[in-house]
């Protein structure tokens, strides 16, 4: 048969090729493995991070990256951790779940890092946390807020922010339900991106409002790639709901608001997650921002002691105050640093990592977003602040004891 000849020569050639490839592969990809271990005295503490620097999550991913780098420089300028300098190794996972797992595999095995920090976005946190768990590493993450992250049985995971997604609107829910009967809205429309985090925020509020007797008249979920919001807006406008809640990220909120304005729908209250806190937001929707609400886990004005240093240090470096992404990264660093200083070790050995995990489980850490403590599954025990556009500026309006401006209700027309 003719194939026999082909097979022979191919097999031979392939054998040779595979041999070369294997040698090159092992040589090239693992050049760092010799430097592994690193529990010795004055070596820097190596911290491995994978971030989405390209792909769908690249914008927030880069923000988190800036926060991590600023934190490392700050720590080093203060003399390091346990007297050792801190060195970050940041890889790009291209916003891809397969990649993020391979990255942590590489960081832990080839690069021999002493500690790992979490990546951005719920989608990437779960596979990454699995790798960390398999190697017994502590996994503090800045961005996996959705409930799904905490129900997977990860005993090494801690979310370094004030609240999980479902609790973001807690202060707003209380405020609405405490309004007098006549003023209180009766119907609500929800539109959420099909994303664990965005959906979590909107559905957390939905659940609380439904329990309080506010009827849901529209409940729409749209894929992340949706660009035309005409039909969703048409449904919301047609229902004439008293309040509209968007489980949004950034651009989808802008599109939805523009589409709602095109239909001349005027709700009494409009809340969107994430997007309104973006400095570009007012320009993007044409200054019609008055009264729009948003939960936030961070504000540069927050009174916590370490926050002042953070804002000063970051502003000096970058020329602008940090946003939530940078703050979450910084918080992650603070949390891990607190555990390291308390336990007195920073090496990949499971025993040391286990001590770090135990310490965080039982202690409270002061951070730039306030004191944080965690439940068994790593959920932080707090709620987000509620911000609102008042006189063209985004201000904290809830809870009462932290407010910078009065809560506006009903919302002026947009």
């Amino acid at each position: 048969m003719h194939t026999a000849k082909r097979t022979r020569s191919n097999a031979l050639r392939l054998g040779a090729l595979a041999g070369t490839a294997a040698l090159v592969l092992t040589g090239c990809l693992s050049e760092n493995s010799a430097q592994g271990g690193g529990d010795g005295g004055d070596d820097p503490i190596r911290i491995g991070i994978s971030l989405p620097l390209t792909g769908d999550f690249s914008e927030p991913g880069k923000g988190v990256g800036r926060g991590y780098e600023a934190w490392a420089e700050y720590v080093n300028s203060q003399g390091g951790l346990l007297g050792r300098q801190v060195k970050l190794t940041i890889l790009d996972d291209q916003s891809n779940a397969d990649r993020v797992a391979a990255d942590y595999e590489k960081l832990i095995n080839s690069d021999g890092v002493d500690l790992v920090f979490g990546p951005f976005s719920t989608r990437l946190v779960v596979p990454a946390a699995q790798v960390a768990k398999d190697y017994g590493m502590l996994f503090v993450e800045p961005a996996g807020a959705a409930e799904e992250v905490f129900t997977q049985g990860f005993d090494n995971l801690f979310y370094a922010a004030p609240a999980v997604a479902d609790d973001h609107y807690n202060h707003l829910a209380e405020k609405i339900l405490s309004m007098p009967e006549g003023q209180r809205p009766k119907t609500a429309a929800y539109a959420a991106m099909d994303d664990p985090f965005a959906q979590g925020t909107a559905y957390g509020l939905k659940q609380k409002l439904e329990e309080g007797g506010i009827r849901t008249v529209v409940d729409e979920v749209y894929p992340p790639n949706t660009t035309d919001f005409g039909s969703i807006a048409a449904k919301i406008a047609d229902s004439n709901a008293d309040i509209v809640v968007g489980g949004t990220q950034y651009q989808d909120a802008v599109n939805l608001i523009v589409a709602l304005r095109q239909l001349d729908y005027q709700p009494k209250l409009a809340a969107f997650s994430t997007a309104p806190t973006n400095p570009e937001f007012p320009k993007a929707i044409g200054q019609q921002t008055e009264g729009i609400l948003s939960p936030t886990g961070y504000t540069p004005e927050a009174p916590y002691p370490s926050n002042k240093e953070f804002v000063e240090f970051y502003t000096e470096q970058h020329g602008s105050p940090p946003t939530e992404d940078e703050a979450n990264a910084w918080t992650t660093g603070q949390v891990v640093a607190a555990a390291v200083e308390a336990v007195g070790c920073a090496d990949p050995d499971p025993e040391c990592q286990g001590k770090l995990i135990d310490w965080l489980r039982n202690n409270e850490v002061d951070t730039v977003v306030g004191p944080l403590s965690w439940d068994e599954a790593g959920r932080p025990q707090g709620a987000h602040l509620i911000q609102q556009y008042v006189d063209g500026k985004i201000r904290i309006v809830l809870p009462e004891d932290a407010k910078e401006a009065e809560f506006i209700y009903p919302k002026p027309a947009w």
């Binding site: 390209t54 792909g55 769908d56 690249s58 914008e59 916003s95 099909d194 729409e220 979920v221 749209y222 894929p223 790639n225 949706t226 660009t227 035309d228 005409g230 039909s231 969703i232 048409a234 449904k235 406008a237 047609d238 950034y250 651009q251 989808d252 802008v254 599109n255 523009v258 589409a259 304005r261 095109q262 239909l263 001349d264 320009k283 993007a284 044409g286 019609q288």
Partner: protein, 294 residues
Amino acid sequence: MTGSLLLQSLVLGVLLGGLYALLAAGLTLYFGVMRVVMIAHSAFLILAAYLAWFFTRQTGLDPMLSLLFTVPLFFGIGVLMQRLLISRLRPATLTMMSVLLTFSIALLIEGVLGFAFTGTHRRIRLPYSGAHLEFFGASIAVVKLIAFGLAALSLAGLYILLKRTRFGQALRATMQHREAAQLVGINTDRVAGFGFGLGLATAAIGGTALALDSTIYPSLHWHWIGPLMAIIVVGGLGSVPGAAIAAMALGLGQSLLQIPLGTTWAQTFFYLALFATLMLRPQGFFGGRLAQRF
């Protein structure tokens, strides 16, 4: 469901269908002249949208002015693509290899856009983005109306070009039977090049129309290629009027189905229509002899 919601959805469906029709007409042209399934069509669409966005951001002028250079530019790229790339492929495997080639061009465009403008979602800021007109209780966004107008004008122009000019005759002859067209003295290579250029020009216009009222990001083209492919199969590969009719029908269907089903499930309508067409009438509903072969 109220009557006004229904009317609103109908209006949105027609406006969307117009844009689909223009883009599907371009895809049909490529297929007609070269038997090429042009996967990169929607990537060029997004490229044009980015050029319009970039133009507006840099100059502050209206994005529609960018058409003055994107249309000739895309026409030129189309001609060059046909002459330099597509015509190099072996005739025997042309259909398959052209798919791969245009697919790789789509990846290149996506990669370059991501490189130049990052993956951030972008949207043109227009002073009139929220403006709307009342129409029997339904509101029509001005930007959507402009996009529809652009699409309708271009389609009408394309129709006149194909039906009323000598070049149009030559193009249609090439689409129907290339060898016969050669025999009557038509320079089919040049006509095919121009056909490709025309197809790409529709992407330039469509992209600008899209950029008026939509977010753009580099990987958005995957979101468009599926529905467009479904439209040209349902309409019958190679039939311009078929593509236009199918575009309108599917655009309307999608818009109306969004009321009971929601956005996500309504998108599956295109693919169900595609599978149903291939099962029941593989040549498409308006395609002729040509479609049966492919």
